[in-house]
């Protein structure tokens, strides 16, 4: 069962900004899924469409098989959203905000009390339940929105940059909380984030979105494996006809005079050059391909451009 399923989802805002282009995305039930991408990539737009705050231009979106517009009642009852911007009434108390939200789902106040108390306690807001929301600190406001999103017991929780501007200690306690509701309550979680460490430590699967397109969708593990290797583009002094076979170093032939080599962290560049020389391959210059998620970002984004844009490092004398 897919907790979320998007098919050819597109959004063009009034004024012509194309925020999403033919997004296809499936998130399995029970998954902890990360949606990564630079600012303006379309993450919030995607989430806005799923929770019906933004209208889609075309395509389909289903939550547990229910179309978000045609079967809105079922879809919305299964969905909880923590938006990027604070959007609660600053004059209401913490408890009122959470209880009212439950009532909008048709849950009676009396019945909602239990679930309200549970989440306020777990998120460390119980002592603040009578506080007027605008007096809370930024981190508390964020947690208030998480409690509000969970009070009706959704099966899918979507969080849009939940830890932005939250200090590291609190961020970690929020991680533990999210992990627990994912593991123990089986709530499927999708989160967008800027902190790559966050995606790395929490998410089982990751999609990377840029300029409204999904440019990568894979397991965190697979992504990390790629990160432990450094990739270089090597320009050759003399053209080669076929891919040279270099033991321990995966090589890709990009053209007659250009190859790509992957080097693990524990391998040395000198080794690579020695082995290349043995195979009769002479390198004239080398371009760096990046590393770790941040740089993977750049790598993935760069791949869409041509290969020329990269920093050129002369390899002579290396």
């Amino acid at each position: 069962m897919h907790a979320l399923s998007l098919r050819k989802l597109s959004k063009t805002f009034k004024g012509g900004v194309v925020a999403l282009r033919d997004i296809d995305l499936d998130v399995e039930e029970g998954d902890f899924f990360g949606l990564l991408g630079p600012n303006g990539a379309g993450k919030s737009t995607l989430i806005g469409i799923v929770c019906t705050l933004i209208t889609r231009s075309s395509g389909e979106a289903e939550v547990f098989g229910y179309d978000i517009e045609k079967q809105a009642w079922q879809a919305k009852c299964l969905l909880g959203v923590v938006p990027q911007e604070f959007n609660f009434n600053g004059f209401e108390t913490v408890e009122q905000i959470v209880l009212n939200q439950a009532c909008y789902y048709g849950i009676r106040r009396r019945e909602a009390k239990w679930s309200c108390e549970r989440y306020l306690r777990e998120l460390g807001l119980w002592e603040k339940r009578r506080a007027v929301s605008r007096t809370l600190s930024g981190g508390m406001k964020r947690r208030l929105m998480i409690a509000r999103a969970l009070v009706h017991k959704p099966r899918l929780l979507i969080l849009d940059e939940p830890t932005a501007g939250v200090d590291i200690e609190l961020r970690r306690s929020m991680w533990r909380f999210l992990e627990r509701i994912n593991r123990e309550d089986g709530v499927t979680i999708i989160l967008t984030t800027h902190y790559l460490e966050e995606a790395e430590s929490l998410c089982r699967n990751i999609a990377i979105i840029d300029e409204g397109r999904i440019i990568e969708n894979t397991s965190t593990e697979a992504l990390l494996t790629r990160l432990n290797t450094h990739a270089f583009i090597l320009d050759l002094a003399s053209p080669i006809a076929r891919t040279p076979d270099i033991p321990d170093f995966p090589i890709k032939r990009l053209s007659d005079s250009r190859i790509e080599a992957e080097i693990r962290r524990d391998q040395s560049l000198t080794d690579l050059f020695a082995k290349l020389a043995e195979a009769g391959v002479r390198v004239s210059s080398m371009k760096n391909k990046a590393n770790r998620l941040e740089e993977l970002f750049i790598r993935l984004l760069d791949n869409k451009l041509d290969d020329e844009g990269r920093q050129t490092v002369s390899a002579r004398g290396a």
Binding site: C51, T52, T55, E85, G106
Partner: protein, 257 residues
């Protein structure tokens, strides 16, 4: 099941709306009580005796229904427009939009807030008026039904204004440039029989005139117009504004980009 749950949501919105205007009573309930008391003092007590009877009633008795109605109209309208615009502005309207609450329930909830404040202010102004004159009610049913329907109508008007409002200024434009003139020219302070022929006919195009007069009929038993025409007109306007509001909500106008 569906309706039962919707009712829980409706009760919640209605309670929220009620607490909102009660919490800020200094801005919502007190000003109309003061303004209307001033009208009674100035027009009723000071100037009224010099004007003499209007339609056969003492001037203060004549203006009391109109002034109550004026309070109901402005308060119903401004409650919904400011509350809904505020919810948009602070974005907490999104709490409702992401929930499965049907649009009709959202509309009903906001209208109930406007009606609540409209009627409560009407009641307060009535109490104030009793300090200046005594009221004999000609028909309780007509009085209550006209005030309720008018309050619903202007709550809907306020809702539509709230949907289209993009900045705080937009909240005041309609009340200042449309609502106030229509109310003042709607026979609150005079009987249209005093007007030249042309303006008598022109006044008949003013919907507020029908409401004020129907309400006055409920209290005094006299009106410039046929009260059944007034009922028909109010109901027609409610139907039009109600379906338009719902249409706007369904389309997400001013709410969804």
């Amino acid at each position: 099941m569906y309706w039962e749950r919707s009712l829980v949501a409706l009760a919640t919105i209605a309670r929220k709306e009620t607490t909102r205007y009660l919490r800020i009573w200094m801005q919502t309930l007190l000003p109309p009580a003061i303004t209307m008391a001033l009208y009674f003092v100035i027009f009723g007590n000071l100037i009224g005796p010099r004007i003499g009877p209007m339609d056969g009633y003492s001037y203060i008795d004549f203006i009391v229904p109109g002034i109550i109605m004026m309070a109901v109209i402005t308060n119903s309208y401004s409650n919904v427009v400011s509350s809904f615009f505020g919810a948009k502005f602070q974005r907490h309207v999104e709490e409702l939009m992401v929930s499965p609450t049907p649009n009709a329930i959202i509309l009903l909830g906001y209208v109930s807030g406007g009606v609540g404040r409209g009627l409560l202010t009407g009641f307060i102004v009535t109490i104030v008026s009793l300090m200046f004159t005594s009221l004999q009610i000609h028909s309780l049913f007509i009085t209550c039904s006209v005030v309720l329907l008018t309050s619903i109508l202007f709550s809907l008007g306020g809702f539509i204004n709230g949907v289209f409002a993009r900045k705080f200024d937009d909240v005041a434009i309609v009340p200042t440039f449309i609502l106030t003139p229509l109310t003042y020219l709607g026979g609150v302070f005079y009987s249209i029989s005093l007007l030249p022929d042309f303006w008598q006919v022109a006044s008949l195009a003013n919907p507020v005139l029908y409401m004020v007069n129907a309400f006055r009929y409920g209290i005094l038993g006299a009106a410039d117009i046929n009260i059944w025409v007034a009922y028909a007109l109010i109901l027609l306007f409610i139907a039009i504004l109600g379906s338009f509001s719902l249409h706007l909500l369904n389309r997400g106008v001013g709410l969804r980009s």
